[in-house]
């Protein structure tokens, strides 16, 4: 009998603790499928962030360490420089990668570290209860922007792909989303490419995945999908920002 569908070997059977409707489960699966298909599970070392994905070591069936908040690109740099033939990736949220870890992100990118970065942008700090993130939209209500994000007080949504696109060390930047099957297939292609780039020694590759966070957005899963489609990706346009 031909097996046509199963759990990727790179995922453990552990049930996810992510909220109903959250995009992390889908993104974990896309990462795991990519690593399986590239045949690098036994060479992979992941760096988990502080944030919702901090339990990544329970879900991924390969070596995982965890970094202080915002520092995954520095930790990944240390790993990759001493073990250049391993596949090293970070999995980070918007607060981790674009607020507290901005310096680590920009400089790992600018050094052209040959690592893969999976950046999950859900426009808020999910783990701590839905506070404003650097990517929170203007007017968006969060636990710390109860009247909506006000540019005068809180600044503007930070567009990381656009920011990093100016750096010579960067090989690949793409923004994708996972709110419907068509986009999930496209996200898979981008994520796999970001790992293939590392295998090929091309340098710093980052995929930003626009993801839904229904519980902290105060929405049903279906409403959160509609908000991604109608509002979120209008502020954060999908596409390739760099591909050398």
């Amino acid at each position: 009998m031909k097996k046509i569908f199963s759990r990727p070997e790179s995922l453990t059977p552990a049930p996810h603790l992510y909220c109903a409707g959250c995009g992390h489960g889908i993104i974990h699966r896309l990462v795991a499928e990519s690593i399986d298909e590239l045949g690098v599970r036994e060479k992979t070392i992941a760096v988990a962030p502080v944030g919702c994905a901090v339990f990544a070591y329970d879900y991924f069936n390969f070596d995982v360490t965890e970094a202080p908040h915002g520092r995954p690109p520095a930790v990944a740099t240390g790993i990759k420089r001493v073990l250049p033939d391993r596949i090293v990736f970070t999995y980070q949220g918007d607060g981790d990668i674009a607020a507290i870890g901005t310096a680590e992100t920009i400089h790992a990118a600018n050094r052209g570290e040959n690592i893969t970065v999976i950046f999950v942008n859900n426009a808020n700090y999910g783990m701590t209860g839905g506070q404003m993130a650097p990517t929170t939209l203007i007017g968006q209500k969060t636990a710390t922007t109860p009247f909506g994000r006000d540019a005068k007080r809180d600044g503007y949504p930070l567009h990381l792909c656009e920011l990093l696109a100016t750096l010579k060390g960067v090989a690949y930047l793409e923004r994708v989303t996972v709110y419907n099957p068509k986009h999930i297939f496209n996200a898979k292609r981008a994520i796999k490419k970001a790992f293939q780039n590392q295998i090929d020694g091309k340098g710093f590759s980052l995929v930003e995945v626009i993801s839904q966070c229904p519980v902290d957005w105060g929405m049903t899963p279906l409403d959160s999908v509609a908000w991604v489609k109608d509002v979120f990706i209008k502020e954060f346009p999908l596409g390739v920002f760099k591909d050398i």
């Binding site: 901090v54 070596d63 965890e66 970094a67 520092r71 520095a74 240390g78 420089r81 310096a103 920009i106």
Partner: protein, 348 residues
Amino acid sequence: MKTLLKGNIALCEGAIAAGCKAYFGYPITPQNEVPAHMSRRMVELGRVFIQAESELAAINMVLGASVTGTRAMTSSSSPGISLKQEGISYLCGCELPAVIANIQRGGPGLGNISGSQGDYFQATKGGGHGDYRMIVLAPDSVQEMYDFAFQAFGLAEKYRTPVMILSDGVVGQMMEPTELTTHCEQTLPAESRNWILDGCANRKPRAVKSLMMADGALEQHNWDLKKKYDRIEANEVRCETVNIDDADIILVAFGITARIAKSTARTARSRGLKIGVIRPVTLWPFPTAIIAAAAKPGRKFLVAELNMGQMVEDVKLAVNGQCPVSFIGRPGGGILDDDALLKKIAEL
């Protein structure tokens, strides 16, 4: 054969002799010779050197290299060491070996660039968050910069814990003849590498982490760390004593101040004063038992430090009221000398 070397260079060469495979640093005076020397030597040797974007990034690069079981180090001076405290706490929580050198300068804040000893509390009491301890070695010569850098890697791996070399701008900048002994590189036996992350080929995947959310898991982890710290306290105390058997007054000092204290004690002896010196070499674990044993009625203790009085608290705890304990210190880059110490001794 001895070579005339600067303390900071000796530190580098000791680390290189120990098989340090990766160095991550950031410029700050008075430790700039370390990243500068490493940037040339490590590259020549085919090892890893990165000038990081910050001390935060540097300590986390060390964490990444250490996760793979690779010998790695960073260095900085006081303000930069403050930035590394987050990483030190994670290294302790994750039980990762690492070597961190602090070539202390005057503080607080930006302070100045003179040698000082104001970071004793930060190094020995835990500058980062959580219940942890860190082995702290205090060299008082260029030779010891070399020797302690070499030995620190083995200690760090033996206990899977960070080791700090708490030096200062004086020892870092001064030049002395140094014996560069031809050490063999130590390596961890295979059974001691059963925690490293290098890809899960032919074994189950591993996790290196400090987050422990299951009921009671973190408390148990802390108790396990405590047992390790107790072993370190039982086995790793290092202390130098000079002429304490007949001493009426015992000077207690570490690092560069111990060099000054030993000189003062010699001068005092030549004038008929019975002065001894106790020099803690490990600041943690602290030589409490040695000081307690020396705290005999009729004796006086004088603690000398280049700060406003930090180690003196640990000396008082060890002496436990058996003898009077006095203090002389100079903070903010001031240096003690024989005259100041002899004057203080005369007042006791």
